[in-house]
Symmetry: C2
Subunit: 529 residues, 2 copies
């Protein structure tokens, strides 16, 4: 493809992307394809001869778009959002043009230096303690995802605690005795997260090869981890001879956007200085752009790391997970290995940052560009209005739900534009199938006991699930469900870049109509029986 | 930024990218900025108010481009290449527009299904055994980097061997006893790679929390790992009560593009069925598009995984590391965790692939698009001519070097467009500084002993290093050095997408001129002394 062909192809692609965005509301938000739809539409091997772009492009609309779930669709209210924006796309295009596996400073100084600059901008914008800025001992690094950030911190935490323990025992780094003892001690390590922490903490513990224990965060505590519950688990670990070395605290849990009790937790952990505390603020951390949320960051000065995904709520296309650490040395001392072919004067001088030592992979993309473009294109004011609008839409949705107590009950929220609801069952007899095990929801069925006092919960779970499944199967809006402390819930998030009040009102209408249908059907069945 | 503003901004960005590519040869390949150049040029915090693109774009040429090391420059002959192409950039643009953290099939079926299709195309194109295709028990997945692929395989290998050992001992998964014993056994595990394997194997072992041992691959074996040397290490591990569980074999080592003795290694490992063998073909694996190289894949049927980066030699912008496994169950059984909010009918049915269970992060980008666009835009024929051309340019460079035995000696190659050379010293007296320790090259200085028989080597190392440093400091071409078995070497790679014969000939001229200058200076000094 020569320059002129690229120019023409790019113009055509840009028109298609504009048209895609402008017609989003007319599309089905959740793809309706069935598994295996694509392979029969494509050749079974790569073509022998080159194809012109005029032959490739039509396959985007013909074969790819029908298989997309449109995360930018205004009716996408599932999971947490994954947003993008035109400035972000342009930066990604430049990044692809300047492609480099910029594993050290010399490999492309701008890639490293812009990352340091914009992550300082982000840290300031979120009101993080200045310990997390690059000017002192801390700093930020862009990871691919929040789960990768957790795995990185957990490996660093594991090496940090083992190093301290081995030092105390007076063993010499690298000796056979040191390695043997390290293996023994590693077997005693335990990573912790609350019951409501994202599953990536548990996966991180698998990657790091350590045990994992969860800290209760029950309904009566608002699904928050408290200091007391944490202390109980820490003390149990100690009694059992285990060594807690890592803890995820959440600013916005996945199920309900709960915020753990940071101050209490920091207080408890004064007695446990070897526990690395990581703040997982993957989604809700974006709300820290608002001054009214920044009081939440006060306790972070006691914690080791913080992560927020620009690619969730902040208009930056995937991937842009911003990880900040209080002591960058904790990462580099665990993850740095420098063979001769990666050595150079600049790295060895210690004057430059080599981000390869802050992450699992060696190579890295030029991801700072899109954060830079987004921050400049929107400005802090623009991002504040944007987030505030979503939070207000969440409050609107919540008020609508509260207006129909006959149909819905609010479990949690509105919190960070997320409201978690259940459907209120009308008559016990419509719930006959409630205790029928559903193989798709193991956690759900496990929570069921034939205990009579739980009948009300079973009833609510059954209608909530039925409403949820009907809504998604009809495809006008896409929402997700969850099971929290045995309660089957529907989650509605109003933080999509294209969300507007009319879509939130329509989503509520759909929920009302579907709930009335399900509950009415129950009533009709009830009368017939 | 509205549609019209995006259209205008995108057109401007495209013109800038075209101009960038067309003027590449006139730029300095290696950035000349000094550490910390960027921060003083930018504001110290994000702007409060939005800035238009017309204000942002000029900063690309003013502040970013001077800090880029141009990996696409025809005079970039360092490391291994990182290529891109116009079709790849267009796909990246679509990917940014369709952004989604497509962690399971339902989150965007096209993202998963296109990945399965194009990775089957890649596997066929490279002549991999059909066990690595998705139709059986294997399949491919796109990782960010080859180092990430290694970390993933190592964690899966660790879990696989521990599972087998614990099963044999009759322990029940998940019990306290099982966890305790798992910790004990984990401390005995050893990951292996040859001395010449990429450092990411050693880093992978840190991440996985296991020991690492290297297998000798000395000069007399052509820097290849042989069956015999592997057997020696395996047996030593056994004698010491260690359990080897993972091995990286290389198809194209970083220093010399050596290919390990796959058939011998497979034969030895028949007695070690618990060792996961991963083929790291990050760069040179691309040459398997040529039928004349596909005999190398014959032994892979005995191995567990294979990885090749489309983003190195195959015109796809970073990141696109293609990992293939023989049994996908080995990955998913180690890495799968499914909480309620990630459950859905399709995933639970087992009919679909959820690639989150094949990798460390949860979310993932739509990276298959760019591989699809590249394979179709070039066709297999196009990629074959492209790779063959680079291999021939490598042969040309090698023949030029061989024509000046007075100046250069060839250590290895041409192999996969890489030639590794040393400079031939003229007179012993110019080598006075040879044994002076250089803090930047620990591996280098460690290899030095004051042993007289090594004087010739010291002399050669000193002039080679001087020539290398002069060439790079002058900045017309960018090359890398390496230390192999105590020998300081210069690596020249002719596999850049913009490489042409004239650039290779000019690079040789520069090397000749610089070597003559350095050696002449030595002579002059010699006469003067």
């Amino acid at each position: 493809m020569n320059s002129q062909q690229f120019r023409e192809a790019a113009h055509a692609a840009i028109e298609e992307i504009i048209e895609y965005n402008e017609t989003l509301p007319t599309r089905r938000v959740l793809s309706a394809v069935t598994p295996g739809y694509l392979a029969p539409l494509l050749p079974s091997s790569a073509p022998t001869c080159p194809e012109p772009f005029s032959q490739i492009q039509p396959d985007i609309s013909a074969h790819i778009m029908p298989g997309l779930t449109h995360w930018q669709h205004p009716n996408f209210m599932a999971f947490f959002p994954a947003t993008t924006s035109y400035p972000s796309m342009l930066a990604e295009l430049y990044s692809a043009a300047f492609t480099a596996p910029a594993f050290n400073w010399l490999c492309s100084p701008a890639v490293t230096e812009l990352e340091t600059v914009v992550l300082d901008w982000v840290a300031q914008m979120l009101g993080l303690p200045e310990e997390f800025l690059s000017k002192g001992e801390g700093g930020g690094v862009i990871q691919g995802t929040a789960s990768e950030a957790i795995a990185v911190c957990m490996v660093a935490a594991r090496e940090r605690v083992l190093g301290r323990m081995l030092d105390k025992e007076g063993l010499k780094d690298g000796t056979e005795e040191w390695e043997d003892r390290k293996g023994e001690l590693r077997g005693r390590l335990v990573a912790l997260g609350s019951e409501q922490a994202h599953s990536s903490t548990q996966k991180g513990a698998i990657i790091a090869g350590t045990r994992y224990r969860s800290v209760p965060a029950p309904r009566q505590d608002g699904f928050r981890m408290t200091g007391k519950n944490l202390r109980d688990v820490l003390e149990r670990c100690k009694r059992e001879g285990k060594v807690p070395y890592y803890l995820t605290v959440s600013l916005g849990t996945t199920s309900t956007c709960a915020v753990d009790e940071f101050e209490e937790i920091a207080e408890v952990l004064k007695e446990w200085p070897d526990v690395w505390v990581h703040v997982d603020a993957a989604y809700a951390g974006a709300a820290l752009v608002l001054p009214e949320y920044q009081h939440l960051t006060k306790a972070f000065v006691h914690f080791d790391s913080f992560d927020m995904n620009m690619h969730k709520w902040l208009l930056t296309n995937f991937d842009a997970s911003c990880l900040f650490v209080r002591r960058r040395h904790d990462l580099t001392s665990a993850l740095s290995i420098t063979p001769s072919y990666l050595r150079n004067t600049f790295s060895d001088s210690g004057l430059v940052t080599d981000y390869r030592d802050w992450q699992i992979p060696l190579g890295r993309r030029f991801r700072a560009l899109k954060i830079w473009f987004v921050l400049r294109s929107y400005g802090i004011d623009g991002l504040q209005s944007y987030i505030r609008n979503h939070i207000e839409l969440g409050e609107l949705f919540h008020s609508l739900v509260k207006g129909r107590p006959d149909l819905f009950s609010v479990l949690t929220g509105p919190a960070f534009a997320l409201t978690v609801i259940t459907v209120v069952p009308k008559r016990p007899q419509q719930m006959r199938n409630a205790s029928k095990p559903d193989p798709r929801h193991e956690a759900f069925t496990n929570d069921f006991t034939p205990d009579a006092e739980k009948q009300a919960l079973l009833d609510a779970n059954a209608v909530t699930k039925e409403v949820y499944e009907l809504v998604n199967s009809r495809g006008e809006i896409f929402i997700t469900s969850g099971v929290v402390d045995g309660t089957y819930t529907i989650r509605i998030v109003s933080a999509n870049a294209n969300t507007e009040e009319k879509y939130i009102r329509r989503a509520f209408e759909i929920l009302v109509e579907t709930a009335e249908e399900v509950l009415g059907k129950g009533e009709a069945n009830g009368s017939a029986s």
